[in-house]
Amino acid sequence: MTTITPTEPRTSLRSPASALSFGGVLRSEWIKMRTLRSTVWSYIAVVALTLGMALLLALTTASGVDGAPDMLGGPAEAQVGLFVQASTFGVFLAQLVVAVLGVLVISGEYGTGMSRSTFTAVPKRLPVLAAKAAVLFVVTFLVGLVSTVGAYFVSTAVYSAHDVSASLTDPDLYMPLLGASLYLALVAVFSLGVGMMVRSSAGGIGIVLAFLLVVPTILQLVPADWAQDLHPYLLATAGTNMFAPTEITGTETLTTWQDLLVSLAWVGASLSAAAVLLVKRDA
């Protein structure tokens, strides 16, 4: 019984001793992310929305520029503002896509039972959350950057015919593009935390969309001082204030750096709560 004949299955592992490592968990999460069609399509949607909205807004604005001669060859600051507006306009829609994606990255595992395989391979669990957050953050940030820079070139193609131009090396232009990309990445990771907490795709998506869309709108409508005071501290408000001109977001009570801190706090809160529940509950 102990002799292994050639026809019997060879079960042993020849590769040198290898062990569980955080680098390995990172690679695993990267493989998981790129081998699902839903992820790939979500990121294609982010690029398409950002470029498409840039084209639409630039075309609309350009016809307005023609009608308003004072903008032609206007101050450089105003010209840069037009580019920022066009390049980041799609982010308001793309944030909903990455929010859904962030939830699905984890709720999809609970929904299909994949989580049991994942947490058997990584029984300490927390490295999974950290690796998922890291991969999601980096990929979303890079896709956001490619989208907004692409949107800048789309805007350039439209505006150049109207003598409106801005340079990508201008901090007033590239800082908002970086901010918009960062915002998308933070929304995705925030949603990952929510998805980990509720473990359900429908519930998680409902919560993050309500949090990004419904709550800010309701707070603006509530005729009370506390509601107006609270509004700038929402993730959707502070996050979009990092890059969007005041005309779009309405309020501007915090500096850009404060906006960044508030956004980071939301993401930190979401991930911390998710981590506590992840360790405490049965997987």
């Binding site: 019984m1 590769s15 062990a19 569980l20 299909t112 395989s117 947490f119 990584v122």
Partner: protein, 315 residues
Amino acid sequence: MCPCRGIRNFDVMITAEGLTKRFGAKTAVDDISFTVRPGQVTGFLGPNGAGKSTTMRMIVGLDRPSEGGVTVNGKAYAQHRAPLREVGALLDAKAVHTGRTAENHLLAMAATHGFGKQRVREVIELTGLESVARKRVGGFSLGMGQRLGLAAAMLGDPATLLLDEPVNGLDPEGVLWVRQFVRHLAAEGRTVFLSSHLMSEMAMTADHLIVLGKGRIITDAPVADVIAGGTRSRVHVRSPHASQLAELLAGPDITVMRAESGVLEVTGLEASGIGDLAAQHSLAIHELTPKNASLEEAYMALTADAVEYRTEALR
């Protein structure tokens, strides 16, 4: 451990002590202690809801014990440097994202421990998944899902295998394959802990049995002992004088059951004794068959009081 040829020492045991799991008011696993030893197949039997799966989930740390604990090779599963090299678990054939291909699923699992692509190819061959490796798991049959689960369990060349209903959904050829595979793994010195509701399968596969009922261990013994001790053997008697014979047979340690008209199931008396008795009274006997207790009967006898959801016999 022999470092020279990569041959591993599989002296690994699963040891549970006072293991308890409560879900709210319900106690799924109630203070159980057992040891699963290497080099043999240990069967884990019990009716639905007995706590088998919960116990297996606690071994790999998916469920946290309410009290007590379980160790693999002296350490909690999560404390090992390379958990997948300690335990390979097939807890549920559907523990895979349906949108991913089998190969990519295995690559993602292997990546956590740094097992290479070569190892993924090996386990795909080992489980006969070559033709479907690049198909998405959502379209897999249950049998294919079981093979993929086994492939994932084998990734780390583990010293211990935990298999929850591994033959579920397999065709006869697949069942035979799993049986041989599991015997082979145990012969290599590995610890194999296998649950199944197919008692006949256990009789052919397992060396040792742990029977669970209502979260408690009912028996923990070699398979042969369970079969021998579970029920007394009985004799199947067919006779045109069944009623007369039944009256004659009646005695303190003898049970006579009428299965159908003209047929008796006798427990407590040897076939020869029944034959002699019939001859003394000149009663014709058409059939006299001794029946050995099957594992199934032994199991039913053992768990009769511990069945959570009993089906009332049709009348």
